[in-house]
């Protein structure tokens, strides 16, 4: 495979060639190359496990490359920690920003380098006015004095960007910044990104959403299996081309749900209330049916799912499975009744990163695996191997730490864990977020197959094509209420988006 990067006369803002990185025997990056120009937004795409994150972490100084060259503004550099890359003028904004929740927006932006006045006191006034200036430059309206706790992810990213600009970062890297943003927030982020580009900075944008790549970026670099594939100007390529280059084969981006026999009502949720989160939520799901909860991020969909599963409490209402009402706020009771929840936050809620594939896979069924009250390694490994194999988890061994797997494979471990419980109701919250296309269609196919086997499935998704492709019925949640129920036949991007953005009650 060629690692040649198209060259031009000007000095690139950032240049990587043939960069590699291994963790033990796991090769995370075989040969990464990237050429970023000033005055340009560059997209970096590739399936999960393609090496994008490793590449970014090498640029940021989190990891050190094993081989290859890294040049910043024409000079070869070695970053042995993140402080050095920051000082050089590289800022990385991660999907989930890392701010100090109890400090104000202003204090976060100036953390560690507060301007001082006499007697080394912190010059709060100067800090504040600089922040106001930054925000007006970015065209955003944020209160500099409020604590960052409670800010939306989108606003937290803006704070991170402001911090980067106040450091005069020449290279800005955004790792899947839009994954948790709603449409309006994405637009605002793009406006900010474009204005930064026009100021002459170089931006790197990592995303799984092609429409965004085509909307925002000037150039795109594709990676596959830890290797550089190609770099092309965005106008010379198409979605089909990109997908082909990413996966090395043709892939239909969507796996539509196959018709399944719709049976009796399995899950009935009646009048669920929790002040400030959701109100009077009632719906039911039949066996063989996939019901999508659509809506904007923050509309209360995940909160409803968590309450149904019992991880969170609710004030009034009831949840019943096959006619039996569940004890509220009790995940064990929900599990025994046959509910499974694949949560939104895979790394913190779905898997235990420190623990092995086998232990993760058998965690929810550990009581059923006992003989004479004890767990025997052979039984655990057999169950883990069965389910890992059924979901095609890629791992070196069953005792490998889940943290060493790629995101898509981690998600498969979560699915394996829950399918092993033989659930009647499966709730999946953003099942394909941050997952590459190949694994995505595998997940879609699995869900379709499970519905075919008579499971009742609730799918929460922020991706419209996924909702429209998979759901038999779409329930639209807006500000904690179900505002519309749309059948598969009537569901269009327009009808769903309209209900998601308008609070007017639509008779179900």
């Amino acid at each position: 495979m060629s690692t040649h990067v198209p060259t031009s006369q000007s000095t690139p803002a950032l240049l990587l060639e043939g960069v590699s990185k291994s963790f033990g025997s796991v090769v995370a990056l075989k040969s990464g190359s990237l050429r970023m120009e000033s005055h340009s937004i560059h997209a970096l795409i590739g399936e999960n496990g393609a090496g994008k994150s490793t590449l970014v972490k090498i640029i940021a100084g989190v990891h050190q490359r094993d081989a290859g060259t890294l040049e910043f503004a024409g000079e070869s550099v070695d970053f042995s920690n993140t402080a050095q890359s920051k000082d050089a003028g590289i800022a990385v904004i991660y999907q989930e920003p890392t701010l100090f929740p109890d400090l104000s927006v202003t204090e976060n932006i100036f953390m560690g380098r507060q301007p001082t006045k006499g007697f080394r006191g912190i010059d709060r006034r100067a800090m504040r006015s600089q922040v106001k200036e930054l925000f007006s430059q970015l065209g955003v309206n944020l209160d500099p004095d409020r604590p960052t706790r409670g800010l939306s992810i989108a606003d937290q990213q803006i704070v991170e960007i402001a911090k980067a600009i106040s450091l005069d970062a020449r290279v800005l890297i955004m790792d899947e910044p839009t994954a948790a943003l709603s449409g309006v927030e994405v637009e605002r982020l793009f406006k900010v990104a474009r204005s930064l580009r026009d100021e002459g900075r170089a931006l790197l944008f990592i995303s799984h959403r092609f429409d965004e790549v085509f909307d925002l970026c000037d150039t795109v670099t594709i990676m596959r299996d830890g290797e550089y594939v190609a770099t092309t100007p965005i106008e010379d390529t198409s979605v089909d081309d990109l997908v082909r280059q990413m996966v090395g084969r043709d892939v239909s981006t969507l796996f539509p749900k196959e018709p399944a026999e719709i049976g009796d009502e399995v899950l009935v949720v009646d009048g669920l209330n929790q002040r400030g989160l959701f109100h009077d939520v009632s719906f039911s799901v039949r066996s063989g049916e996939i019901v999508a909860l659509a809506g904007l991020v923050g509309a209360g969909r995940s909160e409803i799912a968590r309450a149904v599963f019992g991880v969170d409490d609710y004030e009034s209402g009831s949840v019943s499975v096959n006619g039996t009402q569940l004890r509220k706020h009790n995940p064990a009771a929900a599990m025994n009744a046959g509910i499974a929840l694949v949560p939104e936050d895979r790394r913190n809620q779905g898997v235990i990163l420190e623990s092995s594939v086998a232990r993760n896979t058998t965690l929810a069924i550990r009581r059923a695996l006992t003989r004479w009250g004890l767990l025997w390694p052979a039984a655990e490994n057999k169950a883990a191997a069965t389910w890992a194999s059924r979901l095609e988890v890629k791992t070196s061994a069953l005792d490998a730490q889940v943290g060493t797997l790629s995101g898509g494979n981690q998600q498969k471990v979560v699915l394996a864990k829950w399918l092993a419980t033989d659930p009647k109701v499966l709730i999946v919250d953003e099942p394909t977020r941050g997952i590459d296309i190949g694994t995505k269609s595998e997940v879609h196919r699995d869900l379709s197959k499970l519905a075919g086997q008579g499971l009742a499935i609730i799918m929460i998704s922020s991706e419209l094509p996924e909702v429209l492709g998979m759901a038999d019925r779409v329930l639209v949640v807006h500000e904690g209420r179900i505002t519309a129920e749309i059948d598969r036949a009537d569901a269009t991007p327009e009808s769903v988006m309209f209900a998601a953005t308008h609070s007017k009650e639509v008779a179900a």
Binding site: S25, H63, P331, R359, L374, A388, L398
Partner: protein
């Protein structure tokens, strides 16, 4: 539509383990401590006069029996990421309860039972404040450390209850016939087997580890986080009370200030035995070895006429080393990996590290990723 998703016809097979069984069994932190115990014992037996005598072993075990007992539930509590600093005060409290009730004319078995119940209640108070009220266990048990000790001393003042029947005090210091091993070790071995099975081979134990590694993921997997912790605190109080009864009978004296400061020895031994203070990692055989290591060192040094302050310095140093050694090892590994990477990049060959480096390196890189988040 093309052959988009290849039909899955192949069945994957998996290796159960990435390392052979003997490496998994012996190349562990726990076995390193076990090896250290054996080495220190042999060295002490050669260098320190009288250390090899059977009577030394008897007194050594009598001395560490209370620590061994309390370390069992403490290991599980620390693995969940919590801590119980009040155990030594519960020893004092149960000693006083036992002594006072005996003095009041209760039969010994009934007084013992009452002392155990007192310990369980003390543990329940800790557990209730941690799990239901939601306070940090460090703060709660510092508070109850003072509270329980205060109660114990308050009830009995500076006096002691003595004059326990000889049958009972002799039992506490008796030996298994034909061996130098104290009978109390039978009680310990039975409890150790129960605790080891519960921690390492039951669903409850899997829950304990899961809570320590990620309490949120554990909750999302149906692990009853609060209930598990509450049960562990009650177990800790009960076992501490059992140690209190043993302590009282062994010295023939029920006092409010019995076992003052013992909690530090217990926690030191648990950490020395390879349990992570951050939770989620540890094994019971390492902890037992940790208790023996501290006990043997103290005993040998005492026999060699080393003063107790020097013994404290040595134990303290060992503890600090044991707590920082995992981080030091990780640091050394990543530094070595970096150097190797540089050398190989200078040579122009891509760095593909040897396969046998996989597992030791994995935790280091996982830590780095955590920091990056």
């Amino acid at each position: 539509m093309s052959n988009a998703v290849a039909e899955r016809t192949t069945v994957r097979t998996y290796k159960n383990y990435s390392r052979p069984w003997w490496q998994r069994a012996f190349l562990t932190r726990e076995m390193a401590i076990v090896a250290a115990v054996i080495a220190v014992y042999i060295v002490a037996a050669i260098m320190v006069p009288n250390f090899a005598a059977p009577i030394t072993l008897t007194y050594l075990m009598l001395d560490i029996a209370a620590i061994l007992l309390i370390a069992l539930p403490m290991t599980m509590i620390i693995i969940t990421g919590e801590i119980d600093l009040s155990v030594a005060s519960v020893v004092g409290l149960s000693s006083v309860a036992f002594g006072t009730l005996y003095q009041a004319g209760w039969p010994i078995p009934l007084a013992m039972l009452a002392a155990l119940v007192a310990g369980a209640i003390a543990g329940f108070i800790n557990g209730f404040l941690v799990t239901v009220v939601g306070l940090p266990s460090l703060a709660v048990t510092i508070g109850t450390l003072a509270l329980f000790r205060g109660l114990a001393v308050g009830i009995l003042g500076t006096t002691a209850v003595t004059g326990f029947p000889d049958t009972w005090t002799d039992l506490a210091t008796s030996k298994i016939p034909g061996t130098p091993i104290p009978s109390v070790m039978v009680l310990f071995v039975v409890l150790a087997i129960i605790f080891a099975l519960v921690l390492h081979a039951t669903p409850f134990g899997r829950g304990v580890f899961a809570i320590g590694q990620s309490s949120e993921a554990a909750r999302f997997s149906g692990v009853r986080v609060e209930r598990t912790k509450l049960m562990l605190f009650v177990a800790s109080g009960t076992i501490a009370a059992l140690a209190g009864i043993y302590y009282t009978l062994r010295y023939g004296s029920a006092r409010g200030d019995n076992a003052t400061g013992l909690e530090l020895s217990v926690i030191a031994a648990v950490l020395l035995g390879g349990v992570s203070i951050f939770g989620g990692r540890g094994a019971l055989h390492g902890v037992i070895a940790g208790v023996f290591l501290i006990g043997i060192l103290a005993s040998a040094l005492r026999l060699a006429n080393v003063t107790s302050d020097v013994i404290n310095i040595i134990t303290g140093t060992l503890l600090v080393i044991s707590v920082i050694s995992p981080s030091l090892l990780a640091w050394a590994r990543s530094a070595r990996a970096r150097q190797r990477g540089r050398r190989e990049s200078a040579g122009g060959t891509p760095a593909v590290t040897a396969a046998n480096q996989a597992s030791p390196d994995a935790p280091a890189s996982a830590t780095q990723e955590k920091e990056a988040q």
